[in-house]
Symmetry: C2
Subunit: 522 residues, 2 copies
């Protein structure tokens, strides 16, 4: 070994042995965060789906790091996404309701609220530091103009503010608009390029979202600008869709077709990052916003061995299929035992970009740098909320259910079942059950399916709860709930006349305001 | 490219484009078949266990071929193993009972029967062709002397004839003997080297089974003798055990400790195959004898997203975690859609060894050569039996339950539950339900968890059953059940005085014969 080689080796060892931080990176890294919609933990081959139809994601895992213990901050889309972007639990950032106890709330078209200006989203801070930021797909942090992406840190946007389920004509409610950046360019179901065919399941949207991603990556790489791409695609959310090349190709049916097209998209985007020459400087993370929609039966995602799904605070509702990739920085084929959370994308990106965290508020996300670069998990709890209630907490391998609730029997009788075929004594409950005095305790290592609560009289129970209770007490003591943003609904706030409708001559008449309390069924 | 290189390339292409057969192999291949005991489909990282504690098996899958649709021939140990070795369904080879309808039967110590001399086991045929064969671990094809491995094709044996649960002293019943080849060398729970500590879970047996395997491989490789190693280890069967280095190391508890030690053993054995220089000439396959024992709650295996477990004909009872590895012959990281069965190990090994199949009987196993070497699945049905009843059949993606039965409510009330926390309308049933007129139909692609039967009036139902019924009719028409070997029980046939007990001076007095009908609870 000559002298130069020895110096290089020492440098390599030095980098390998300490977590990367913004200060240690010579260049600001790029971030590509891929967030799926209602995809379950068990939908990927690498997470055990028997169809094994996700070769690109499985390869991403083999080339990167898999996080089997990664969570969303909420079992529903809007609060989950607001938490991801703000680094804070929905109870803090306002994405919850106080209209009813422990109810999941989100941002349908009638929602009056949205993300508050006081909330700091990490793209805002990246933008100030010179980043170019783009969101592709679903926003879901409020659809009134003041809540839209370009007001909250994104330079570019291609996608829709709300879910893509109905309406399908402009009667009663306006169709959901598609945006390019800060203006509407058409509406779902109205314009042929934004069509979703409910009969065939055909739509070209995922292909558009893939192309938008590669164009953005190539443009920023050519300009040598650091960038954030937030790829928030929604083909696995009802109504499912796929393009012609993927329709009918999955053994799983239309849901699998959508998964296959998204998996293909991941492959295309990873290839674009490589061909654009920024692979060595780009952290890619993949996850989902909440658990698979088990109530959708054979047209929803799989939560693998976990109990229940979306809308619930069981593992099936909040554990997410998460993979990170960064060639040269993350060791290939590694498994992280980090208890991760989508809120960590906030803290991790700021850390790696060398940007100081906001000091005036509690941030719930942690930097994943020690996990990503040294495979050293950082101790932290996971809180499982529904609306204004902390339902459960995970500390280490123990999960304590302070409240349990699957859904009302009256809903199940109507066919809406969040735990179909599953009925676990004392764990799944058809009323909101307050277990605060004696929480239902699960060891998630021995019992990932949450079927066998540890008896409350045992030494293990006492020891575990002695560890859990102070964590909960501390959390509750410091908790100052934000102003609830999801309490008020108003038909007038819908997308009747979004920015840009004048140029298109497609503004619809806005009805009179009539703000009422939103009602949330679950 | 010079001429020689072109010839080599052409040869390589020729080999790559046609399935290997015995005729095309220049040398008889070795077979290492690893069969786990009560390990579930979902226990391996590569099959989605969230603990991801099987790095060697996950690596084996990355280096080889994964079979997500691989089955046992029965949801219980003895019939499954008899089918594997005979290539025939238990209803043909006699490993079933007619004492009660649709009851699972096996070979406890009191069983009078065992594998019939008329059954041809594939080691017998390999032996005649010059192979050296060894079984390590659990035999389970009958414990009377005439049924033991050396009478049925194995040159060597290190292990026990029965399950390793009780008795724990020689009162009432003799302790289970440990054999070396054709003679007893001690008894479980009596001799310190064969101890299983019920309090700590300690036992050194897996370490012994690993060492026996590597010694055998090295010896045969050095002698240049083709060999079969049947590694039938049992640490994941109740009572669970692990050695000191593994006890307490898994987040899953003792079950996970056992899995981790077996995974370690797989790594050691694969390394031994390589270091012995026979890697390029050895087919290694890994699987399990039946589904995870869900009734064991937190001390049993995981069946991932599948319904129920061991003892049942739902997917959780019979789908097995299966991996094949053969560097240079099997393309790394491939997934096979083959509907496979443990009985295929019979046909595949004979095919690859260039040995003609028996022509005087129906063989249910198929050669996996097209799947292994060309990734071309062969169309074939899967039959799910309990005892003397065909409960279900899989044809393509469709599974039709002709009979359903989980277990009696009276057992569940006693805490014996094969589908804990699972209760699927019309699918899980607490009586033996005859659906033959209108089978319960499942599409396993859209519904791997068997929760959403396809309605019988639909076009899909009619089309699918039009495909399924002829397969079942043909199967039943050709079915000539073998003489049931698991009907009679007798306390006198127990391991009182196994071969070799005289030399050890450890023969026990044999009680008088009293043959009675065996009773089978499930």
């Amino acid at each position: 070994m000559d002298g130069n080689a020895a110096v290089v080796l020492l440098l390599v060892l030095a980098i390998a042995s300490s977590p990367l931080t913004g200060a240690s990176l010579t260049k600001k890294p790029n971030f590509v965060f891929m967030l799926m919609d209602d995809m379950g933990w068990g939908d990927l081959g690498v997470f055990g789906h028997p169809a094994k139809e996700t070769p690109n994601l499985d390869k991403m895992a083999a080339d990167g790091m898999t996080f089997p213990d990664f969570y969303s901050a909420n079992p529903l889309c809007s609060p989950s996404r607001a938490a991801l972007l703000s680094g804070r639990l929905p109870i803090r950032n306002g994405f919850y309701t106080t209209n009813a106890h422990a109810r999941n709330a989100y941002t349908p078209q009638v929602i009056a609220g949205g993300i508050a200006d006081e909330e700091i989203l990490f793209p805002e801070l990246l933008q100030k530091a010179g980043y170019k930021n783009k969101i592709i797909g679903k926003w879901h942090l409020g659809q009134q103009p003041q809540y839209l992406p370009h007001k909250h840190g994104f330079d570019e946007w291609y996608g829709a503010p709300n879910c893509h389920f109905g309406p399908f004509n402009d009667k009663g409610s306006p169709n959901i608009p598609m945006y390019r950046d800060d203006h509407m360019i058409g509406r779902l179901y109205e314009d042929s390029e934004f069509m979703i065919n409910h009969t065939t399941g055909y739509s070209n949207l995922t292909q558009q979202y893939i192309e938008e991603a590669t164009t953005f990556i190539n443009t920023q790489a050519a300009a040598d600008t650091p960038f954030l791409l937030y790829w928030a695609v929604d083909a696995t959310h009802d109504p499912l869709y796929a393009s012609h090349d993927f329709l009918g190709t999955s053994e799983r049916g239309l849901y699998g077709d959508a998964v296959r097209e998204l998996d293909y998209g991941v492959g295309v985007i990873l290839a674009a990052i490589k061909s654009a020459g920024v692979e060595e400087n780009t952290l890619v993370m993949f996850s989902s916003d909440n658990g698979g929609a088990t109530y959708a039966k054979t047209t929803g995602g799989s939560n693998g061995p976990f109990l229940c799904g979306k809308e619930t605070t069981y593992e099936g509702g909040m554990r997410e299929p998460t993979i990170a990739r960064w060639p040269g920085k993350i060791e290939p084929g590694t498994i992280s035992r980090q208890l991760g959370n989508l809120m960590d994308w906030f803290t991790t990106s700021l850390d790696l970009a060398g940007i100081e965290l906001p000091q005036d508020r509690i941030i719930d996300g942690i930097s994943l740098a020690p996990a990503l670069f040294n495979n050293t998990p950082v101790d932290r709890p996971i809180f499982y909320y529904r609306g204004n209630e902390m339902m459960a907490v995970r500390v280490g391998m123990y999960k304590a259910h302070y409240w349990t609730w699957t859904n009302f029997m009256v809903d199940i009788d109507k066919g809406i079942d969040y735990c179909p075929g599953e009925d676990v004594s004392n764990v799944t409950t058809h009323d909101q059950v307050n277990n605060t005095a004696t929480p239902i305790l699960i060891h998630l290592g021995r019992d990932p399916g949450e079927k066998y609560p540890i008896r409350s009289g045992t030494a293990e129970y006492k020891q575990a709860m002695a560890m859990v209770r102070p964590v909960v007490d501390d959390h509750k003591k410091k908790m100052v709930p934000g102003k609830p943003a999801l309490n008020k609904c108003d038909k007038a706030v819908q997308n009747w006349a979004p920015p840009g409708c004048e140029a298109l001559k497609r503004c619809l008449p806005v009805p009179a305001h009539n703000e009422v309390d939103c009602t949330w069924g679950h």
